[in-house]
């Protein structure tokens, strides 16, 4: 899988201090747009997928995120780079989804552009595509805040303190939101369990 190293090694700080105007920390501490893309591309693309964008729209939106990051490079604290790109991704996702809603109103539901590498075999490909579609259907029914919790905790497998930093809330609040989000997810998935793409395996 042509993936980028996941940002497990990031040191997380306080989101409100992500931007430090006037201090060119990037230049002095070696933050480059190359390293930002290399470390965080996969994270941002998956978050945007989890927030409901198609693979193609997620790619476009991720590109926008890193264009924003490039413009702000000198203002980003290297220790909080992931928080910065995550915040930018949420804003870009909101704009992208507004555009998508308008597009759907005009064109109706377009066919999914979801694809899988052919090397996996047609059955496995179909199974994975159906699995992602089911996940998207469940997430679509969740409140935005809970949806983000599920994406960060279950897809990105971040720890609660890391989620708290990205979301800019106390750890206790993040833990509480995650608990509620998991309950909600489970309940919605139970209602859709007849769409299980894995058949008898489960």
């Amino acid at each position: 899988m042509p993936d980028i190293a996941r940002p497990r090694d990031d040191v997380i700080g306080i989101p409100s201090k992500v931007l430090r105007p006037g201090i060119s920390q990037a230049a002095t501490r070696g933050l480059s747009i190359d390293s930002l893309v290399a470390q965080h591309y996969g994270f941002i693309w998956r978050v945007l997928r989890g927030l409901g964008l198609s693979p193609t729209d997620a790619e476009d939106a991720t590109q926008q995120v890193f264009m924003i990051a490039a413009r702000k490079l000198d203002e980003i604290d290297p220790d909080r780079a992931r928080s910065f790109v995550y915040g930018a991704a949420l804003r870009v996702a909101n704009n992208a989804r507004r555009g998508l809603r308008r597009r759907r109103e005009v064109l109706g539901d377009a066919a999914s552009d979801e694809t899988e590498p052919e090397s996996r075999g047609p059955e496995k490909m179909a199974e994975l595509v159906r699995a992602r579609q089911l996940l998207a259907r469940v997430l679509d029914q969740m409140p935005e805040q809970h949806r983000r919790m599920i994406v960060l905790a279950e897809i990105e497998q971040l720890a609660v303190p890391e989620i708290a930093v990205l979301e800019g809330v106390p750890v206790g609040t993040a833990a509480s939101r995650l608990r509620v989000a998991r309950e909600k997810f489970r309940s919605l998935l139970t209602a859709l369990r007849d769409q299980n793409p894995f058949g008898e395996e489960l």
Partner: protein, 220 residues
């Protein structure tokens, strides 16, 4: 204790999401866009990009030249048309002319279409075995290969070049096809194969204008 089926289903869905492949070349495209945004150079990729640009330019020139030929066959009295005809195949052999000489990077625009002998291969023996592919077919195949290569899809590029070799039995654009294959192999990580092919190309086409580019792929 066995996990609940719903929990297992959820875990499989999350796994499927984590396992989803990022579109090929997407990080590279994002980096390029971000660098353009701040007007930054790409020093570590400069050599590779220059090579790719050169290849793209070569193929574009070849395609432009071919299109000129296809659009003005009678006017230029070339004896070829968009579709191969028996008349075209009955052109006399011109063995002394190299197979592909028309497209060179040093000649970005061609004021006149090249003469027929420059672009026509030694078609007579092949014509006896089977009808040769038209120039437009060959150009289409190379355009597909070049596009795939630009998009970072080396597998599709090599597939298009295979089609050029095996199905079309392409001859008119042979040199460009070989250079594209060398590039595709190199980008696919098959550097030994790319180097060997480049070496053969250099040995067999010492007078080709493409030889310097091919030589750059030969491993020292």
């Amino acid at each position: 204790m066995t996990p609940d089926p719903i929990d297992r289903l959820g875990a499989r869905l999350f796994e499927a999401a984590r396992d989803e492949a990022i579109p090929e070349g997407a990080p590279r495209r994002a980096l390029a866009a971000a660098q353009r945004e701040i007007g930054q150079e790409i020093p570590e990729r400069a050599r590779f990009s220059a090579r790719q640009k050169w290849l793209t330019a070569t193929v574009a020139v070849a395609i432009a030249a071919g299109s000129l030929l296809l659009l003005r066959p009678k006017e230029a009295n070339l004896g070829i048309s968009a579709e191969p005809t028996r008349v075209a195949r009955r052109e006399p052999e011109r063995r002394s002319v190299p197979r592909v000489e028309a497209p060179t990077p040093a000649v970005p625009a061609m004021p006149h279409p090249p003469s027929a002998p420059e672009l026509l291969p030694n078609t007579a023996p092949a014509a006896v075995r089977s009808a040769p592919a038209s120039l437009s077919d060959e150009l289409s195949a190379l355009k597909v290969a070049s596009g795939a290569l630009s998009a970072g899809d080396t597998r599709a590029a090599l597939a298009a070049l295979d089609r050029y070799d095996r199905v079309l039995k392409g001859q008119k654009m042979r040199a460009e096809a070989t250079l594209l294959r060398i590039e595709a192999l190199s980008r696919a990580g098959q550097t030994e194969a790319a180097s060997a092919l480049a070496q053969r190309f250099v040995e067999q086409n010492p007078g080709s204008p493409l030889v310097d580019r091919a030589r750059s792929f030969v491993r020292k």
